[in-house]
């Protein structure tokens, strides 16, 4: 068996101390053993001499050195500000049943950036120093103010490589906004909840849904599928059949689906009060969705679909340094490399934090665009925004791959100090990682076919060698 000789024979017990902590987790397919560097092997259940096993390759100073390197690579280092989420207006031309952002009515006043706020935003943008930045326009419906979008785009300093994402409900596309969409550095993001009937139900109006579909097709014809992404928002208690959801995406030529459960905050919270304890249902659905993708990808091999968050999980397992996703990283610095600026200039660490605050649940603002966000509040959030030192995480086999989402904890429990295993975030991720590692060790060609594609491998996913 390849690699096995190395695994067992070269262990020097005296070197064990150099090895970062080894953790175990029991799965159906065996016992997963990982170290803090994220190196892992699968052992059969009931292996006797566990104490002496050092399963991570060449067991000497080189392996230890590599381990420290990998461990460091797996920690996100906070960089300069390079990701802005901007809310130029809170007004919206739709009223979706679960709108996450407590929108304002179309004709409402004082829900757009004031001239003063605009000035500060433009100062912020023109002061960006990172080599590459991403600026995302959220709402409300940002396309109601194409003038503000254009001003922000124009304020990016020369030499900074900027990518703009406009999150829109695609209700109206006029020439002004089309001129912005036409730019090569602009991407469009929208919502597609599944089959159009479902989309219409969740978004309260069939006429609007028809307009959405029409505009969506118009943009696809104009730009092809790479410019537009769509996010489905799924109600875990009434999820669409995976086949229907995938069909809906396939109809628009899209292959990446980022499943998100309805976020029970803001307006959503009021309508869906049973929200809190449906995590289990969500995990089940997520898994069944991925199983469905595996089948479908195998049946129809030319068209491979992925679930974006699961692909991220896989990348984080195998590729140290995949730390750019702000939803899943450790530590997860707040108000450091990204920031949300609301329509009134208030600064939030995440978009969820903005929603929680707007919903009146807890004020998670950390400053404002005029005076900055180097605040005590930010420092307090940052102190909690890590898995390091947490008693549960420090013994968890998945810590090297996992992340921290304190805003999720706060939104559900009003505190960041609930024992980790009792949080929805932890339960959801344990389930996801369990599922991922079962798949990784699967012998099935179907599974390996999809895994290979989801990880962008040139060939099928390699068989993972288990210690026996």
């Amino acid at each position: 068996m390849e690699g096995k000789g190395l695994l067992r024979s070269q262990v020097d017990p005296a070197l064990k101390a150099l090895r970062p902590g080894v953790r175990r987790r029991s799965l159906t397919c065996g016992v997963l053993v990982s170290d803090e560097a994220g190196r892992f092997v699968l052992e059969p259940h009931g292996l006797a001499d566990q104490e002496n096993l050092s399963p991570f390759g060449y067991a000497d100073r080189l392996g230890a050195l590599a381990g420290r390197y990998l461990q460091a690579r797996r920690r996100s280092v906070s960089s300069e500000l390079d990701y802005l989420i901007l809310v130029p207006t809170l007004r919206c031309n739709l009223a979706c049943s679960y709108c996450q952002v407590s929108r304002a009515a179309l004709g409402a006043r004082q829900h757009d950036w004031s001239d003063e706020t605009l000035g500060h935003v433009l100062d912020l943008v023109s002061g960006l120093r990172a080599r590459a930045v991403k600026i995302e326009f959220q709402g409300g419906e940002p396309t109601l103010r194409p003038d503000l979008i254009a001003k922000v785009i124009a304020a990016v300093p020369p030499g900074v490589d900027a990518l703009f994402v406009i999150c829109t409900n695609l209700q109206t596309i006029d020439d002004t906004i089309l001129a912005i969409f036409d730019r090569d550095d602009v991407l469009i993001s929208t919502s597609l909840d599944g089959p159009l009937e479902l989309h219409a139900r969740q978004r309260s109006d069939t006429e609007q849904t028809r307009r959405f579909a029409e505009n969506f097709r118009f943009l696809l014809d104009r730009y092809g599928p790479n410019k537009i992404s769509a996010l489905p928002t799924v109600d875990p208690s009434h999820p669409p059949r995976p086949a229907d959801l995938v069909d809906a995406f396939a109809a628009f030529g899209m292959r990446s689906i980022y499943l998100r459960p309805i976020n029970f905050q803001g307006f959503a919270r009021k309508n869906h009060s049973a929200a809190r304890e449906i995590g289990e249902a969500w995990s089940d659905y997520h898994r069944s969705f991925i199983r469905y993708l595996v089948e479908r990808n195998w049946q129809d091999r030319g068209r491979v679909f992925e679930e974006t968050y699961f692909s991220l999980i896989l990348r984080r397992i195998f590729r140290p340094g995949s730390n750019r996703h702000v939803d899943l990283r450790n530590p997860n610095p707040m108000g450091q490399d990204y920031i949300v600026i609301d329509h009134d200039g208030t600064a939030y660490p995440t978009d969820e934090a903005r929603m929680l605050t707007r919903a009146g649940i807890i004020d998670l603002s950390i400053g404002d665009v005029a005076s900055g966000w180097q605040t005590e509040k930010r420092a307090a959030l940052n102190a909690a925004s890590t898995n390091d030192g947490d008693p549960a995480c420090e013994t968890c086999a998945y810590k090297p791959f996992c992340g921290r989402d304190i805003v999720d904890d706060i939104s559900r429990y009003g505190t960041t100090s609930l024992p980790r295993h009792e949080t929805e975030f932890c339960r959801r991720h344990l389930a996801l990682f369990d599922f991922a590692f079962e798949m990784i060790h699967s012998d099935s060609d179907k599974t390996r076919y999809s895994l290979g594609h989801w990880l962008n491998l040139p060939g099928p996913f390699p068989r993972v060698v288990a210690v026996s």
């Binding site: 100073r61 050195l65 590599a66 195998f318 040139p458 060939g459 390699p462």
Partner: protein, 357 residues
């Protein structure tokens, strides 16, 4: 094939290094073109007169070593080429089964000339250092690199080494910021110590190499790991990929290289060679593993049409300009510009087995 040495005559009595002027302001280290005609050119500088006999080569801008007694010049650094290599010694302490430049016992110390040559290189040139085993002369090698980079921080070096001679004391020295501009190309043929040792013809080489890696990574050295594809190690590639992911993830690149039909390899080419494209399936899992773990893997010296489309983005047009050739059928291939082609001395019947893209 581009000629790297040319017949020449000079009235100097000792070898010297000069840059064949290309119109810039004359400097004592430069030679000025005095006369040019079909087949020869005459140059003049502080060292005296130099007459070079050449067919079609344009040598203007080249940095050359003139050896009057041998009646030749050696083009050490050719202007505009990405493939300049200084051969610092022909001695080596390994004896690899496929060595393309079998070692010799004697050593001709040319570090002084090479140092001068580097100083005269074009702005931003990448200079290769090879052998034999350059680190057999570690002290002089490091001195040369440090001296050159102190005066010419725009240059960079790529040193081919068997990694047998780094000791813990080198870690401090290699931490000098100048070494950010130095990459070390080091071969590792298998994660099975015995197999690696057998291929390199030196017992204990694997263990010694691992020790060197500890030193090199402590120093934050830039490592390009090289694995030549051989019948002997093709089955080891996938385990090697896993080994690298777990134990050498710091490497800057993993180069998986096609065998060069030169030196020792010439005698046993049939036994050593992994026939591509037929046997690519044996190589592919290692590449999948490398990509899986985010190891920056590249394929060298393998023509694009010998690589299945899904893996072509990993292939590099790597064969040096002066020793590369194509088959006649390649003329109609759209991928030629991105293709490594073949070594000049690759067997003709194999060269002809191309499939234009």
């Amino acid at each position: 094939m581009i000629a790297l040495t040319l017949p020449a005559a000079s009235d100097a009595d000792r070898p010297f290094v000069t840059r064949l002027g290309d119109g810039e302001k004359p400097a004592p280290t430069h030679s000025r073109l005095e006369h040019f005609e079909e087949g020869r050119s005459i140059w003049c500088g502080d060292h005296g007169l130099l007459e070079i006999f050449h067919a079609g080569e344009n040598v203007q801008g080249d940095v050359v070593l003139v050896e009057p007694a041998k009646g030749r010049i050696e083009r050490l650094i050719r202007t505009g080429s990405r493939h300049n290599t200084l051969l610092v010694t022909e001695q080596c302490d390994q004896l690899c089964v496929m060595c393309s430049q079998p070692p010799k016992k004697s050593h001709d110390d040319r570090f002084g000339h090479f140092t001068k040559a580097c100083m005269l290189a074009d702005e931003g040139t990448l200079i290769g250092i090879s052998g034999g085993e350059p680190t057999l002369h570690m002290e002089k090698l490091l001195q040369m690199i440090e001296a050159v980079l102190a005066r010419r921080p725009d240059l960079s070096f790529h040193v081919l080494s068997n990694g047998q001679h780094f000791t813990p004391e080198h870690a401090m020295r290699l931490r000098d910021p100048r070494y950010r501009r130095v990459a070390w190309g080091i071969p590792l043929y298998s994660s099975d110590p015995v197999r690696h040792d057998t291929i390199v013809g030196k017992p204990g080489a694997f263990e010694r190499l691992m020790e060197s890696f500890v030193t090199l990574f402590r120093a934050g050295a830039r490592i390009e790991l090289r694995t030549v594809l051989l019948s002997q190690n093709v089955a080891d590639l996938a385990p090697l990929a896993r080994f690298l992911a777990a134990n050498l993830p710091q490497i800057e690149q993993w180069s998986v290289m096609g065998l060069e039909n030169a030196g020792f390899a010439r005698r046993n080419f049939g036994d050593l060679r992994v026939a591509l494209p037929e046997r690519f399936a044996e190589v592919a899992p290692a590449l999948d593993l490398a990509v899986l773990h985010g190891l920056p893997v590249r394929l060298f010296n393998i023509p694009l049409c010998h690589v299945p489309p899904a893996y072509r983005h990993l292939a590099v047009a790597s064969i040096s300009d002066w020793k590369k050739r194509f088959a006649s059928a390649c003329d109609e291939c759209r991928a030629q510009a991105d293709c490594s082609g073949f070594f000049e001395w690759h067997p003709q019947e194999l060269v002809d087995r191309v499939a234009p893209i």
